[in-house]
Symmetry: D2
Subunit: 341 residues, 4 copies
């Protein structure tokens, strides 16, 4: 940690900082620059968080040297984490496509979609049973009934299931039915929920919060790993910016950035990332070209009758075309799209 | 609702939209512009959410006419909501100052702070017992012990208490100890938690999420009111922008905007809004000048030893000076700062 | 244009709006909804800009129906604009790679780079002679000397040249030396400069402003086309957001969005878009997968000695590797990378 | 400057950095932390800009210690800059109100407005003669004719004039007619224009760019001061964020932040800052409470007939009421509103 002192800091004031750092077990190096005094503090990373030196009036700024995350870091584990689910591996060579409706609406809707996306080459079925909705008057999901329908669709098609959990009291229930637990964007910093999914043995798909920095996102993953669950994958789904032609701004640079900083797999959600179905295929291809380990997309047999997110859902024919293009692209990059025709 | 169709939409396609709207019980007006066809749909506001007409390929855009919120709206209730807590009224003429440390750290710390802020003119004591922290390695709060210390401080000083609840399973516990339940910024769209605090009879301080629009924030309040708890106050605490000299960008325009659109009180938090103690007094004054019904600020007897947020905490002398200035300012605006000397 | 009136607007007030619209030559349709009155105004798009109906107290909001741009729109011209420069075509099947240093620093630097990027498959040489720099103390470019060095490099290698113009008084000079005139991000809304480059017969590379919406960007292109120069290409180079791990947030969704709304070519700049050389190759591939007509990247023979932007510059070997990967990818998409080995 | 090296950097690599820094005249301190090597470089601030050490692969990050600005800094000049214009002083005790229409539209309009705002207590007349407009089809200003009308209004009322210059070729012309040269938000980083206004002896009102950080804004002022013109005042007018209920997000925290970092005066523009006339009076008061040295607001005798920005313009009666409230508020803060009744 580097502490820059304000111009005109007195000897006595420097001494006080020195003492405070020594008290906390840090070794201190002083360095007198042309205009400012700089204090270097060396010590245990875990104690840094507790120090709030910028509260001292003669401290200009504090610059952390070490990243605040540890378990998620590639410095901690240099090889990629590969998450094995059934016969699938996420984070290795294979690219996986997770597809399905925003919400589970009915038995026929989810089964029809499951069969269609399976045929087109998806390996996972997505679908929300518990829906966090901006409005209290909007459809809130079929809840346990929805989970059962997802399980039935898995039974029928062999697709594995990814679905969101929103309530700490439901973690066990949802974990019972699903293969991957999804933490939604709005819950990325719901630390209570992170601690709870950390206690399960289910892989976790951790969506990025709409205003989360890369570091905060990695810290959210750190919560889950620190709680004992090492099977975490990141999911970039767009951030909130001033541009509102798209629903969010899909930040694909995070794909190579995460791969460089962390060993965990990275999935991309171009449906929420753009909010417009006609942009989804291009951005799915871009995600794979950027190095994503998988994509998650919304597909609905009848988007204009969807109870949520129809605007960003692909029809089955559009999804099928996209899968064919993805396969060609992935082949050129030397990665197989698992399940693709 | 207005639906704009793409250029070149056929008669048959227009007809399909017509039918879909009639099916859902809407009355339809067609209007042929110079270049585009516009469809006006009139009907029950509650059914609008379910329609996802932008999923139809020949729809260019859908423009909602009615606001999605109802109970929070000044159109629903034209007079200000005044929240009575003990002998205090929030949302009326009185301006209230809520002050205290970021976290409850110890008995002596919270009691010392409580006495000091009481003396300077605060009416509410703030302090976190459950802390949502970005890092799993950071101090997470004293939990129930912290709540008891807050209650003891109330007993001793007569200050009322505002503290955050982060876990649905703790709502009852926290409500037992506190006078105002705080929903933190990161939980503004934790709808599960909103529904739970809606079931209590405690007033709720609803912080704005760092990337929440005005409308989303009002919808979060709508969740609480829809759940039966009408005692909601908004708390502006800054949004996340590209500017990072300040921790957040304090969006004071929300104060007059909320007062124009809603009947609920508005509180401002200049501590989180700026993240720098030396900017807090100016922004507290600005908040009151903008029409805020109260402010909530961090005060610590010894900021450089605080376990969290020391950088943005006022010392007791600085807080006292600020209170004197606030009082003068509020007097000029014809509003009393309740409790001020 | 749709005008929504506030609840409680009187007959006389509605009448006033009616009159104002008639005065300006608009036909008016009134529509009485359940809660609000809606006024539809039909008429000449060019007069809309002059009306400022939201200034009327009983107007709640005004919703434009028609896009404010015309010449850049795909509704105006349905086939792609293909810009022919020498033997190259931008906006057709070919993908072009523009490469070179941030700044022209010396004869040897620009010639060495030009030969290297030509060999690796670039068709255009980029390099700044006039540099807009945040600090007045930073290197401001070699100016005309730099332009001459670029011209010499073109002579030697056959590469065409793209370089930025920052001063209206230099437009003629820069146009004399360059094949493409670049409008930098900070000048995207320097309308005076846009009008000046519109008078030249040089193709224009229009970078997106760091806080420009898609619509504002298209309107900037409209300025150039309205001034008589139809050879405009967009260049996405990232927007400013809260995320600062990357220098900007590269908004690749704009590629398919622009292709859907406009007939003009789209180039992507992953160097400024990320600000980190190690992310550039992944994002260049992603750009091509998203449908970009070309990319522009910074290459420096010795990045750690570059006078500007070394952090985001590729070395020649890294650029060469990237080109090989781009070629494979583009092949899979059925598009040739013009010039690639 | 602090340079943090990546874990695993070799002795030879450290040596290379050492040499590069020595070459450039820096003294070097090495510091071996628990996990990383840190290099401190001490030397001439003006050479720092030229070094681009982050381009070196084994450099993790570079942390500048000194601010990049100098002349604008309070470290350079500790007392406030007071700009004297006629009998007025900006930056001292007096608060100044600059008021007038967005655009000069006609002789009668500007004279009527000038008399009205003078009577209500304004000391400066604002009004645009050259208008930077998003659309090429929008009204672009009366140009020199507009400047003459402003001069006539000054003659008649005694108000001083502030107006925008957008073209380097017009700087002399505009400076001839105006008392303060305004640099508009979109031109904040038009460095060519900054250098040109630096050559005049007119005070400059430097608006903040919609996506400019505090530091970039200060650097823009540094350009003007470095060019020889020390009479610069900052003007906060809102930044672009995701919130679009307001036209911009007025970032009032910049007022105390600038006052702490710089000696230059700070003006606030609540009209562009909010884009809604009904929020303007509250935010004008908030600006003064935050410590602003003046405000600049749009006033139009007939906002619904304004050719631009009517939506955010105050009527004369609303402006007069606001002035009365401002005066009371400023009195309470011990500052006179110059010119107020």
């Amino acid at each position: 940690m580097i502490i820059v002192l304000k111009r005109g800091t007195s000897e006595a004031q420097v001494q006080k900082i020195n003492e405070r750092l020594n008290e906390e077990g840090f070794k201190v190096h002083l360095s007198q620059g042309v205009e400012k005094i700089i204090v270097g503090a060396i010590g245990d990373r875990s104690r840094l968080e507790a120090l709030d030196l910028e509260a001292i009036p003669w401290v200009e700024k504090v610059v952390p040297i070490l990243a605040p995350y540890k378990l998620v870091s590639r410095e901690f584990q240099s090889e990629n984490t590969i998450i094995k689910i059934g016969e699938h591996e996420i984070g290795g060579e294979e690219i996986h496509v997770m597809a399905g409706p925003c919400s589970v609406e009915s038995r026929s809707q989810i089964l029809e979609t499951a069969h269609a996306v399976k045929e087109a080459g998806a390996t996972f079925l997505r679908g929300g049973a518990f829906k966090p909705r901006t409005s209290p008057y909007a459809f809130q999901g079929l809840e346990e009934e929805g989970l059962k329908l997802l399980a039935e669709a898995r039974e029928e098609t062999g697709l594995l299931v990814v679905t969101e959990v929103v309530d700490v009291r439901d973690v066990e229930l949802v974990a019972h039915y699903t293969d991957i637990l999804q933490i939604g964007a709005r819950n990325m910093q719901n630390f209570i929920l992170l601690k709870e999914v950390a206690k399960t043995n289910r892989p976790v798909l951790l969506k990025r919060g709409p205003s989360a920095t890369l570091e905060e996102w990695m810290m959210a993953a750190e919560y889950i790993m620190d709680g004992g669950n090492y099977q975490v994958m990141f999911c970039e789904r767009g951030i909130r910016t001033f541009e509102n032609y798209t629903r969010n701004t899909l930040d694909l640079s995070m794909v190579p950035a995460l791969h460089s900083l962390s060993h965990l797999p990275v999935i991309v959600d171009p449906s929420h990332g753009t909010g417009r179905w006609n942009l989804v295929p291009s951005m799915a291809k871009a995600a794979v070209a950027a190095g994503a380990d998988g994509i998650i997309v919304e597909v609905h047999p009848n988007p204009e009758k969807a109870v949520s997110d129809g605007k960003q859902s692909l029809t089955v024919p559009n999804f099928t075309t996209m899968m064919d293009e993805l396969k060609k692209l992935a082949d050129a990059l030397g990665r197989p799209v698992k399940g693709a025709r």
